[in-house]
C-alpha cells in the first residue's frame, strides 16, 4: 500500500510524571481526557500524583472565531454544489465548477483579510503571532487551491495554461507593487536603487507593458542609452502572446514566437546591449536563458515563479502533461541543493505532476484541520477526477474526508448544524455518523431540543426522536413541569411514560383539587389514545368541563362510562363516585334509574373488592363516604323511578 513513511505525531502532555506513572484516557464527545495513573490498580500506600485531568482536542481550529466564517460560508457553497444541476453537459458544467472553485477561493481570501486585520490591530504579541501564522496558512491554501483550479477544474489546455499560471504567479508570489510605487514616486525613478529590480520583475512576470513604461523613464533620463532602450522596448512590444479569445492556433503562435526569439538572439549576439549589463541580462531573460533567470532568484522568491518564467520565455505553448518535467528541474535548480523542500513544495509538485491523490494526501498531513482537503476533494470528485476504488480507510476518499470534517464540527456548540448537511451528502456512512453524533448534542434549552428534533424527524431518524423526547420528558418531570413532560412523551409516542405522567396529573388533582396545564389536556385530540391512562385523563377533564358548563346529563353519562368501560383505573373509582355526588344531589334528576343501578353496582364492586383486612383498616372517612354515597344513590333511584314512571304514565 502506498504509504508515507511518516512517524505518527507525538503529543507531549505536560505535568505528568513519565518515569513512574502511566497515562490513561477516556473518550468524550469531541474531545479526549488524559490523566496520570498507575497500573495495575493497587491499594498501595498513598502515592499521590498529578491530580489533573487534561482535556485534549484534535480540531481546536473549530473554535477559532475567524475561521468560523470560513466554515459557515463554505458550507453554503458546498450544499449548493451538491444540489447543482448535473445534467448540464460539457462546457457549462465546467464553467459552473470553475465558478464554485472561485467562490471557495474568495471565501478563503476574505478570511485571510480578516485575520490580517486582526494581526495588525492586536497588541498582544502572542496573538499577533498566532494570527500571522494563520494568515500564512490561509495564503498557502489559496495558492494550492488556485493551482488545482487551473490544472484540474479549468483543465486549461496548452497556451491558455501558461496564461493562467502567469496570473497565478502574479497574484500570489512576491509583492511587486510596493517596490514599484516607491520607485515611481521618487524624483529620479531611473536612479532609484530598485529601478532595475522593478523592470526585471516585470519582465520575469511577463508584464511587458509595465516593463516598457519603466524603461521609458530610463530612456528619457539617460540619452546615451536611449538607443538601446528603444530596441529593447521594441522587442518587448513585439513579443507574441496568446490571449484568451485570440483565435490564432498554437502552431501560428509557435511560428511567430520562433521568429521573435531569433530576433532577440541576433541583438544579443551583435552586442547591442553589451554596454548595459541590466539590459543585456533582460535580453537573456527574454531568450529564456536559465542562468540569467536564476540570477534573479531573490526577486522571484520561489521555485514555481522560476518555473513559470522559464516557461514564458522558453516554451510558452507548454502542454499540461509536460509540466512535470519542468517542475522538477525548476525545483532542483532553484534550491540548488542548499535547502530542502518544504511541505508546500511537495504539494505543488504533486499538483504539477497531476498526482491528485498525492496532493490530497500531502495536504491532509500538512494542514491542521480537514476543511481544506474535504472541500477540495469534494469539488474534484464532482469534476469526476477521483477514481472510485477504495482508498485509505475503507470508504471512498471523498466521503472519508467529509465524515472527518463534519465530525469535527459536531464538537462545536453551534457549528454542528453545518455538519448535518455534510453528513447528508455522504451516502455510505453519513446517516449512521449523524445518528451517533446528534445524540451527543446537549439539549440545554427547549429550543435547541426542538431544533435537533426537527432535524431527526426530517430524516426519519425515529430512534433518535424517541430518545430525545424521552430525555426532555424526564427532565421536565424532574422539574415538575408536567405539561411539558406530557407533550414530550406524546411526541415520543411513549405510552408507558404518558401513563406515568397522567398518573402524576391525577395525583396532583386528588391532592389539590384542580388540574394544571388545562390547555394541554383539553387539546389532546387523537393523541389521547396513546395510553389508557392518558385517555382517562383527557376524558376526566372533559367531565369537569361539561360539569362546569352545566351540561349535567352529558357529564353524568360520561362519568358512568368511565367506570363501566373500565377506562378509569379502579383506584380512581372512589374519586369518580364522589364526583357523582353533586350530580345526585341536584334538584333535577340527572341519573336515570338504570344509570343509578349501574352506579350502585360500581360501588358494590368497589367495596366488595376489598379484602377483609382492608375493610378493617378502612378509616372512618372512607366508611362515611361510602354510606353517604349509598344514601344518595338510593334517594336518586327513588326519584328516578318516580320520574320515569310519571312520564311513561302520561
Amino acid at each position: 500500500m502506498e504509504e508515507l513513511d511518516v512517524e505518527p505525531p507525538l503529543t507531549l502532555i505536560p505535568g505528568v510524571d513519565s518515569k513512574s506513572k502511566q497515562m490513561c484516557f477516556a473518550w468524550a464527545p469531541g474531545e479526549m481526557l488524559v490523566y496520570e495513573t498507575l497500573f495495575p490498580k493497587e491499594c498501595a500506600e498513598k502515592r499521590p500524583g498529578c491530580p489533573n485531568i487534561f482535556i485534549v482536542r484534535k480540531d481546536k481550529d473549530v473554535y477559532s472565531q475567524t475561521l468560523r466564517k470560513l466554515f459557515s460560508e463554505s458550507h453554503g457553497i458546498f450544499v449548493g454544489l451538491q444540489r447543482s444541476e448535473e445534467e448540464l453537459g460539457g462546457k457549462s458544467r465546467k464553467a459552473q465548477l470553475v465558478r464554485v472553485s472561485k467562490n471557495y477561493r474568495s471565501v478563503i481570501r476574505a478570511c485571510m483579510e480578516e485575520m490580517h486585520q486582526l494581526a495588525i490591530s492586536t497588541r498582544d504579541p502572542e496573538l499577533q503571532c498566532q494570527h500571522s501564522t494563520q494568515v500564512c496558512i490561509l495564503s498557502a491554501m489559496e495558492l494550492i487551491w488556485n493551482l488545482c483550479e487551473i490544472l484540474f477544474v479549468e483543465v486549461a489546455p496548452a497556451g491558455h495554461l501558461l496564461l493562467h499560471l502567469l496570473d497565478w504567479v502574479r497574484l500570489h508570489v512576491c509583492d511587486v507593487d510596493s517596490m514599484v510605487c516607491e520607485v515611481l514616486s521618487s524624483e529620479n525613478p531611473s536612479k532609484h536603487k530598485d529601478f532595475w529590480n522593478a523592470v526585471d520583475i516585470f519582465v520575469l512576470q511577463g508584464r511587458m507593458d509595465d516593463a516598457r513604461h519603466l524603461l521609458s523613464k530610463e530612456a528619457s533620463a539617460n540619452p546615451t542609452s536611449m538607443g538601446m532602450c528603444k530596441i529593447l522596448d521594441d522587442l518587448m512590444k513585439k513579443m507574441p502572446i496568446l490571449s484568451i479569445g485570440n483565435t490564432q492556433t498554437l502552431t501560428e503562435m509557435e511560428l511567430k514566437w520562433q521568429h521573435w526569439h531569433e530576433e532577440c538572439q541576433r541583438y544579443l549576439q551583435d552586442g547591442t546591449f553589451s554596454s548595459n549589463l541590466h539590459m543585456e541580462s533582460i535580453c537573456k531573460i527574454l531568450l529564456g536563458d536559465e542562468n540569467a533567470i536564476l540570477e534573479k532568484k531573490e526577486l522571484m522568491t520561489t521555485w514555481y515563479h522560476f518555473l513559470v518564467t522559464r516557461l514564458v520565455y522558453s516554451h510558452p505553448t507548454v502542454k499540461p502533461v509536460e509540466l512535470r518535467f519542468y517542475a522538477q528541474s525548476s525545483l532542483d535548480l532553484f534550491l540548488g541543493g542548499e535547502s530542502s523542500s518544504e511541505p508546500l513544495d511537495s504539494i505543488l509538485m504533486a499538483a504539477f505532476e497531476f498526482e491528485i491523490h498525492q496532493v490530497i494526501k500531502e495536504c491532509s498531513i500538512a494542514l491542521s484541520n480537514w476543511w481544506f482537503v474535504a472541500h477540495l476533494t469534494d469539488l474534484l470528485d464532482h469534476c469526476k477526477l477521483l477514481q472510485s476504488h477504495n482508498l485509505y480507510f475503507g470508504s471512498n476518499m471523498r466521503e472519508f474526508l467529509l465524515l472527518e470534517y463534519a465530525s469535527g464540527l459536531f464538537s462545536h456548540h453551534s457549528l454542528w448544524q453545518l455538519g448535518v448537511d455534510y453528513f447528508d451528502h455522504c451516502p455510505e456512512y453519513g446517516k449512521v455518523y449523524l445518528e451517533l453524533h446528534i445524540e451527543r448534542i446537549p439539549l440545554n434549552t427547549e429550543q435547541k431540543a426542538l431544533k435537533v428534533l426537527r432535524i431527526c424527524e426530517q430524516r426519519q431518524m425515529h430512534e433518535q426522536v424517541r430518545s430525545i423526547c424521552k430525555i426532555m420528558a424526564m427532565k421536565a418531570v424532574r422539574n415538575n413541569r408536567l405539561g411539558s413532560a406530557l407533550s414530550w412523551s406524546i411526541r415520543a409516542k411513549d405510552a408507558a411514560f404518558a401513563t406515568l405522567i397522567s398518573d402524576r396529573f391525577l395525583k396532583d388533582y386528588c391532592e389539590r383539587g384542580s388540574f394544571s396545564d388545562l390547555d394541554l389536556i383539553d387539546n389532546l385530540g387523537p393523541s389521547m389514545l396513546l395510553s389508557d391512562r392518558l385517555t382517562f385523563l383527557g376524558k376526566y377533564r372533559e367531565f369537569h368541563r361539561l360539569y362546569g358548563e352545566k351540561r349535567f346529563s352529558e357529564a353524568a353519562k360520561l362519568l358512568l362510562m368511565l367506570m363501566t368501560a373500565h377506562i378509569a383505573p379502579c383506584s380512581f373509582w372512589m374519586t369518580l363516585l364522589t364526583d357523582a355526588l353533586p350530580l345526585l344531589e341536584q334538584k333535577e334528576v340527572i341519573f336515570s334509574a338504570e344509570q343509578t343501578y349501574e352506579l350502585m353496582r360500581c360501588l358494590e364492586d368497589l367495596t366488595a373488592g376489598k379484602t377483609d383486612n382492608q375493610k378493617l383498616q378502612v378509616d372512618d372517612v372512607e366508611t362515611t363516604k361510602v354510606e353517604i354515597l349509598r344514601l344518595a344513590l338510593a334517594r336518586n333511584l327513588a326519584r328516578a323511578i318516580v320520574k320515569e314512571g310519571t312520564l311513561e304514565g302520561s
Binding site: M23, C24, R57, L403, Y433, I471
Partner: protein
C-alpha cells in the same frame, strides 16, 4: 493537531483511577484511591466542583454515566466490594443504591444500551458478574453469573443494541425483542460473550487468544454494518481486534493490532468507532485507525515534562 484545551485540577489526594465525561461532554466524573468520586461541570473550558461523593471504603476503580434519559445517574465500583449508584435529585447528588453482593473488589461497571432499560453490569475479582436492573420505585433486580471467570473478572462491555429483524414500524408502546449481549474479560485469559436467553444469562462464546490476564474489553459502537467488533487487551502486551460477520454471532476471528512492549491496560473506541485508543505500560496513549484491513497508528499521546509540542497528523504503516 492535538492540543490540551483545558486542565481540570481534581484535587484528588491520591491516584486517579478513572475519569469519564458524561454523554454530552458537559460534566466530568473522576474517582480515586482517596475513596472519593468527584463530579465537575466543565462547560466552556471551566471547572466547577459539583459534588464530592463519599461512600466507598476503599479505592474507587471505575465510574460510569448512565444515559441521560434516566436522569443524571453515575455508578461507581470499588475495592471495598461495593457498587454504588449515585443520582442527582433536586440539584444535589446522593447515593440512590448500594450493592454489596460481591466477595471481593469490583473492578468494572458498565451501563447497558439505554434501549434495554437501566441495567448495570459489574465485574469482580471474585470471578462473578452481577447484573443490576432498575425495576422502578427505587427497586433493583439482581442477576448474578457466578464463576464467570476463574480468579477474577477485570472488564465488562456491552454490545450495542441491535433489534433483530425489521427496525421500521415497531408498534408504539411495544418493547422490541432485543437480544442482549455483553463481553467480559478475565484472569483466565479469556474473553467471554454472554447472551440473555429466557431471562437467564448464558455463556455464548469463549474467545481465546491471549496468553495472560485480559485487562480490558471494548465492544465497538455499531455503524450499521452487519459485523460486530470487540477490542481486547492483555497482560501479554497484545491488543486484538475480534470481528464477527454473521448475525448469529458464531464465528469470531481475531486480528492482532499490535504487540506492545509492556502490559496494555485500557482500550476504548471513539463514538463513531473509527478510532481505537490504547493505553499501556509503555507510558503512552496511542490512537489507531483501520486502513484497508490493516490497523495503523495515527497518533501518539505521550506524557512528559516540558511544553506541549504536536506535529501534524500522519499515517504510519503497520510493521
Amino acid at each position: 493537531m492535538v492540543s490540551v484545551i483545558n486542565t481540570v485540577d481534581t484535587s484528588h489526594e491520591d491516584m486517579i483511577h478513572d475519569a469519564q465525561m458524561d454523554y454530552y461532554g458537559t460534566r466530568l466524573a473522576t474517582c480515586s484511591s482517596d475513596r472519593s468520586v468527584k463530579i465537575f461541570d466543565v462547560r466552556n473550558g471551566g471547572q466547577i466542583l459539583i459534588a464530592d461523593l463519599r461512600g466507598h471504603e476503599g479505592p474507587v476503580w471505575q465510574v460510569a454515566w448512565a444515559h441521560p434519559m434516566y436522569g443524571n445517574i453515575l455508578a461507581s465500583c470499588s475495592y471495598d466490594r461495593k457498587v454504588i449508584v449515585w443520582k442527582e435529585e433536586n440539584g444535589t447528588w446522593e447515593k440512590t443504591y448500594e450493592y454489596t453482593g460481591h466477595d471481593s473488589s469490583v473492578n468494572s461497571v458498565c451501563w447497558a444500551p439505554h434501549d434495554y432499560g437501566l441495567i448495570l453490569a459489574c465485574g469482580s475479582s471474585d470471578g462473578a458478574i452481577s447484573l443490576l436492573s432498575y425495576t422502578g420505585d427505587g427497586q433493583w433486580e439482581i442477576k448474578k453469573i457466578s464463576n464467570a471467570h476463574t480468579i477474577g473478572c477485570n472488564a465488562v462491555s456491552w454490545a450495542p443494541a441491535v433489534v433483530p429483524g425489521s427496525l421500521i414500524d415497531q408498534p408504539s408502546g411495544q418493547k422490541p425483542n432485543y437480544i442482549k449481549r455483553f463481553a467480559s474479560g478475565g484472569c483466565d485469559n479469556l474473553i467471554k460473550i454472554w447472551k440473555e436467553e429466557d431471562a437467564q444469562w448464558k455463556e455464548e462464546q469463549k474467545l481465546e487468544a491471549h496468553s495472560d490476564w485480559v485487562r480490558d474489553v471494548a465492544w465497538a459502537p455499531s455503524i450499521g454494518l452487519p459485523t460486530s467488533t470487540i477490542a481486547s487487551c492483555s497482560q501479554d502486551g497484545r491488543v486484538f481486534i475480534w470481528t464477527c460477520d454473521d448475525a448469529s454471532g458464531n464465528s469470531w476471528s481475531p486480528k492482532l493490532l499490535h504487540k506492545f512492549i509492556d502490559v496494555v491496560w485500557h482500550v476504548s473506541w471513539s463514538i463513531t468507532a473509527n478510532i481505537l485508543a490504547v493505553s499501556g505500560g509503555d507510558n503512552k496513549v496511542t490512537l489507531w485507525k483501520e486502513s484497508d484491513g490493516l490497523w495503523v497508528c495515527i497518533s501518539d499521546v505521550n506524557k512528559g515534562q516540558g511544553a506541549v509540542s504536536a506535529i501534524t497528523e500522519g499515517q504510519q504503516n503497520e510493521q
